[in-house]
């Protein structure tokens, strides 16, 4: 008499364990723990190294190449965060403090010079209250790479070092503060792991939010390529409108963001968005894998030269346009087909409200 009932209970439990909500909760928690939190931690590490490097460079214990290396490392860590821009760093325009881009009017150069004129001995306290334009990596890059600044000249080095140090300290503190908010009780890590909470009514909402930031980042990767390519300015290339053009690290940033978006898709040990697709959606999963594969392959070739090299002739522009098309494929597959397959509606009112 009892056996069928037990069997049914067992079956119900087994089904419950695989219910979409449950699987979404597991995926969200796994991504938070294995992908997002480590990326935010790497960002903290990179900014700590940046702060140490600024002090070492300014005291003459480290050369310019070393200082630039620390910048590239921080820039890469920030690029990796962009497809994971969810929670505290995504709110209140906090991310503007990390990087000021796009900078159509070259505000970074102007405002750095203005700040140093009015505050030759700028420190972190002054910088904390200053404009976001001078607080972040774009201003840091300006100091280390702009052709009008000659840091080998001792006088110039003395002029720029207080700001260089202040920016690195500001970045370090910002990164630590954001990471603390991830880890605090009921912080972002908890909100992506236990449902419901004050942010997410259920796990589906958390997955939708993760997909939303990923799609937004993929879209902005396209823009980062479209602007220097002149796709929005009658096809006339605009190399100085590229992200990180001074340090020629535009493609490095794009590569780091793209790889990070792919990690959200794959997850660690297969616990990514991909795992949420039912078996019958394997063709879509294969298509997305292939799209990432194609983009990465094209980008690997492009990375052998800086962006401005490719922008200088038609052959290079054709290669960049082909890469843009491949990024577009990755973006569209996530925005439409993946969203639909996961039952997620993106930007219904945001993109087409009234």
């Amino acid at each position: 008499m009892f056996r069928p009932r037990l069997l049914l209970t067992g079956l119900a439990l087994a089904l419950g364990a695989c219910s979409p909500q449950n699987q979404q909760a597991q995926t969200s928690a796994a991504l938070a723990e294995q992908v997002l939190l480590p990326a935010y931690s790497r960002w903290v590490d990179a900014d700590r190294t940046l702060a140490t490097s600024a002090v070492a460079f300014c005291s003459g214990k480290e050369d310019l190449n070393k200082a630039r290396e620390a910048f590239f490392n921080a820039q890469k860590a920030w690029a990796e965060l962009q497809p994971l821009l969810i929670g505290p760093l995504a709110e209140n325009n906090t991310a503007w403090q990390v990087q000021f881009y796009p900078d159509k009017k070259n505000l970074v150069a102007r405002q750095v010079e203005q700040l140093l004129k009015s505050n030759p001995q700028v420190d972190k306290t002054t910088l904390d209250k200053a404009s976001v334009v001078v607080q972040g990596l774009t201003a840091y890059e300006y100091i280390l790479f702009d052709s009008n600044i000659e840091l080998a000249d001792a006088e110039q080095k003395v002029r720029y070092c207080p700001l260089l140090t202040a920016i690195s300290e500001h970045q370090q503190e910002l990164a630590q503060r954001i990471l603390a908010r991830w880890k605090e009780t009921d912080g972002m890590l908890a909100q992506l792991s236990k449902f419901p909470n004050q942010r997410y009514a259920d796990a589906q909402e958390a997955i939708a939010d993760l997909l939303r930031v990923q799609v937004t980042a993929l879209d902005s990767l396209k823009k980062k390529l479209a602007v220097p390519l002149g796709r929005q300015s009658k096809g006339i290339p605009q190399p100085y409108q590229a992200e990180a053009w001074r340090s020629e690290s535009s493609l490095l940033s794009i590569a780091a963001s793209l790889a990070s978006a792919q990690t959200l898709w794959n997850g660690v040990e297969g616990k990514g968005l991909r795992a949420l697709l039912p078996k019958e959606q394997k063709p879509l999963a294969d298509k997305i894998d292939a799209a990432y594969g194609d983009s990465s392959k094209q980008l690997a070739e492009l990375q052998q030269q800086p962006l401005k090299h490719w922008l200088s002739d038609e052959g290079g522009i054709a290669k960049l346009n082909a890469f843009y098309d491949s990024l577009n494929t990755v973006h569209r597959l996530h925005e439409s087909e993946l969203a639909k397959a996961l039952g997620i509606q993106l930007g219904f009112n945001a993109n087409d409200g009234d």
Binding site: N93, Q198, A201, A208, R212, G343, Q345, F348, N349, A350
Partner: protein, 360 residues
């Protein structure tokens, strides 16, 4: 109940008072909604999740206007829609389709006069794109018949609402010209947004603007004391400091509500809906591009809530706070009766809720 009293009650209900639940029933949540395949619906759900009706309609709707006495509502087409739907609130039956004339289209909003005899909808004159109209429909023998038009004294009207007297219209003239069949803005550098007060006969009583000419005034909430709250969508540069929430206190000029910079910037220059709770003196605002939902104290301007809510859309007042819908996630109930506002997800279908809700 006398007609006068019921009319007054109706006006009060639409004026930022929370909705009176009918009998023991939970309020009815009315909204336009889509399905994943892009089909459009007029829906009604009790807040406990019970579906009352889900009626497929041909064109996407925007705002909902209930009749003061009869059990029906008009689901108004959003621009440039040409059909609005009169839906029976008991079973969702389509009672009547309002087709706009060939050189007109709806703009998404309307109001019923408290007598129940007149319905007014904002419309576009496509022979003179953007010229704002309020079309008047007479309610007679169970049907609405279009009779005449009034000018809204501005371009591209969007929401229309009543002042507490129930005789004075408040019109948010968005200021944007659009042609028939199109949602493309034609005059971004010559926009003329305005907040207009006009009499029921069409006479202009006042016309006010905000600082930035590209700041489209779109949605309204009117408190029982006559305070007007208006929310905007800004069409200019991302770096401009446009006021996304405006207020016209009784007897005062229309001005920016004191929104602090972090909240203003978080809206990404786009708001969807505004609601006012006259008893709690709170104003609520949805910002679907910023994915944030906000509540402030109307009188002190104090920020009471700044919460993440992806693609938040419609908002309306209930006894203890607000109900909010979302195009992406679950609908939520915010209990504002204590100092700390708390949120509870509602057992309603998730996502694809359109721009506005009405609690009936």
């Amino acid at each position: 109940m006398s007609t006068v009293l019921s009319s007054l009650l109706h006006t009060l209900q639409r004026l930022g008072s929370w909705t009176f639940a009918s009998g023991d029933q939970e309020p009815l949540l009315l909204s336009a909604r889509d399905d994943v395949d892009g089909h459009h619906y007029a829906v009604g759900y009790r807040l406990n999740g019970k579906s009352v009706f889900v009626t497929q309609v041909a064109q996407r709707c925007h705002a909902i206007v209930t009749h003061p006495e009869e059990p029906f509502a008009v689901f108004v087409a959003r621009r440039p829609g040409t059909q609005s739907y009169v839906i029976d609130l008991r079973d969702g039956k389509l009672v009547q389709t309002l087709d706009s004339p060939s050189d007109r289209h709806f703009y998404g909003h309307g109001v019923f006069h408290a007598s129940g005899e007149w319905f007014y909808a904002t419309e576009n004159d496509t022979t003179d794109p953007g010229r704002g109209l309020l079309s008047a429909y007479r309610f007679n023998e169970g049907r609405l018949t279009r009779t005449h038009e009034l000018s809204t004294h501005g371009l591209g009207p969007h929401e229309v609402a009543w002042m507490p007297d129930g005789e004075t219209f408040v019109v948010a003239n968005g200021g944007i010209r659009t042609e028939a069949e199109s949602r493309v803005e034609m005059n971004l550098h010559a926009m003329e947004p305005s907040l207009v007060l006009m009499s029921r006969s069409g006479e202009l009583l006042s016309k006010e603007t905000l600082d930035l000419q590209m700041n489209s005034i779109r949605h309204l909430a009117i408190a029982t004391d006559g305070t007007i709250l208006a929310c905007q969508q800004y069409m200019g540069a991302a770096t401009d400091a446009a006021a996304m929430l405006g207020i016209k206190r009784p007897g005062k000029t229309f001005e920016a509500f004191p929104v602090a910079e972090p909240q203003r910037q978080a809206m990404a220059h786009y708001t969807a809906s505004v609601a006012v709770h006259s008893e709690l003196r709170l104003v609520a605002l949805t910002a679907p591009r910023g994915n944030r939902f906000f509540i402030w104290d109307v009188d002190s301007g104090e920020l009471r809530l700044d919460a993440p809510l992806p693609d938040c859309a419609g908002v309306g007042a209930v006894e203890d706070g607000f109900i909010v819908t979302s195009g992406q996630g679950r609908c939520r109930h915010y209990d504002c009766s204590n100092v700390n506002i708390t949120m509870k997800p509602l057992e309603l279908p998730s996502g694809l809720w359109d721009n506005h809700l009405l609690l009936h």
